[in-house]
């Protein structure tokens, strides 16, 4: 892909990363502690278990809810780091692409185009001359060949 399209893609990528970052953080953010009067929500609550066979109050919390909070805490801490690293990487790549832009002035380009056109004209004329000379020579050679074959046919006597 040419460099300008790559730059445009990179701008879109940066925008996409920013939007995803904020969306993910807002979606996965844990609730905020409003006041010290209210207790922290219990980590092991299992609201879908109305089973009366559980005599004592959950002596063995099933492993899933206890793994979830610590896992979530890890994710919530790691995600912003990973996402912000990706954002910074994308910005650096954009800077690298901008530095690699082969820019030159408009007048310089127009001048070069005029030079190239003149050179193209000159070499086009040369090519045409050569082609015409070669065509002429080819006709001459064909004439010669026809004469030679005619002579061969005339000289060759039937046995």
């Amino acid at each position: 892909m040419d460099i300008i399209s790559q730059l445009q893609e990179q701008v879109n990528t940066i925008a996409l990363l920013a939007v995803n970052t904020f969306g993910t953080l807002q979606r996965d953010a844990p609730p905020v502690r409003l006041s010290t009067d209210y207790p922290e929500p219990a980590a092991n609550s299992n609201p879908t278990n109305p089973n009366p066979t559980n005599g004592d109050a959950n002596p063995n919390p099933n492993p899933n809810p206890s793994v979830n909070p610590s896992e979530e805490a890890n994710n919530v801490a790691e995600q912003p780091k990973a996402m912000s690293a990706a954002l910074v990487q994308a910005a650096k790549k954009f800077d690298a692409l901008v530095a690699a832009l082969p820019l030159s002035g408009e007048e310089a380009q127009l001048q070069r185009i005029a030079e190239l056109q003149a050179e193209n004209e000159a070499i086009g004329l040369e090519l045409q001359k050569q082609l015409e000379a070669a065509d002429l020579e080819m006709k001459q050679v064909q004439e010669l060949f026809n004469h030679a074959t005619d002579n061969c046919l005339n000289l060759k006597k039937p046995d």
Partner: protein, 171 residues
């Protein structure tokens, strides 16, 4: 059912009748219409044949980089990139402290992104000229190669003819 739907559409334009004798006399048919220039209407909207990038003010967007005949694209793009990163950080701060005021920051970010895209689009004519230069150079290269080839072949042919004359003379 087929005749009902067929009758509801208008017939195709009758221009085909003008070309009935085209195979015998190509000049009896009208020539193709000349290409359209300037602006033309199409399905109710007006389009123009001139390809020019509308400036940002025409699209109602504030231009953040300085105006002028010669814009230093690299410098402006890099400074817009830095601005973008700063604005993203600002948005993160605002969401933490005053979440209800996100709208202005989001608008700023989108403004910066539009400016960046406009700068990149205005680089396209430069790219077109560079492509033209590249095409001209490769065409000159090919023509030079062709001239060399023809010269070489002509010399070979001359040499062969001289040799064959020598052989015929010596016999």
């Amino acid at each position: 059912m087929a005749t009902g739907t067929a009758a509801s559409f208008p017939p195709p334009p009758p221009f085909y009748r003008l070309y009935s004798d085209y195979s015998t006399d190509p000049d009896s048919a009208p020539p193709p219409p000349p290409p359209v220039e300037g602006s033309y209407p199409l399905y109710g909207a007006t389009y123009t044949t001139e390809a020019v990038l509308p400036s940002l003010e025409d699209q109602g967007v504030r231009q953040l980089y300085p105006k002028g005949p010669n814009i230093d694209f690299k410098k402006e793009l890099m400074s817009l990139n830095r601005d973008l990163q700063l604005h993203i950080l600002e948005l993160a701060d605002v969401l933490i402290e005053r979440p209800s005021q996100y709208a202005r920051r989001v608008e700023d970010i989108s403004l910066i992104l539009r400016n960046m895209h406009h700068l990149l689009n205005s680089l396209r004519p430069h790219q077109a000229r560079a492509t033209l230069i590249h095409i001209l150079e490769s065409q000159i290269q090919r023509r030079k190669q062709a001239v060399e080839d023809i010269k070489r072949r002509r010399e070979e042919a001359q040499k062969l003819l001289k040799e064959s004359i020598q052989i015929l003379d010596s016999q």
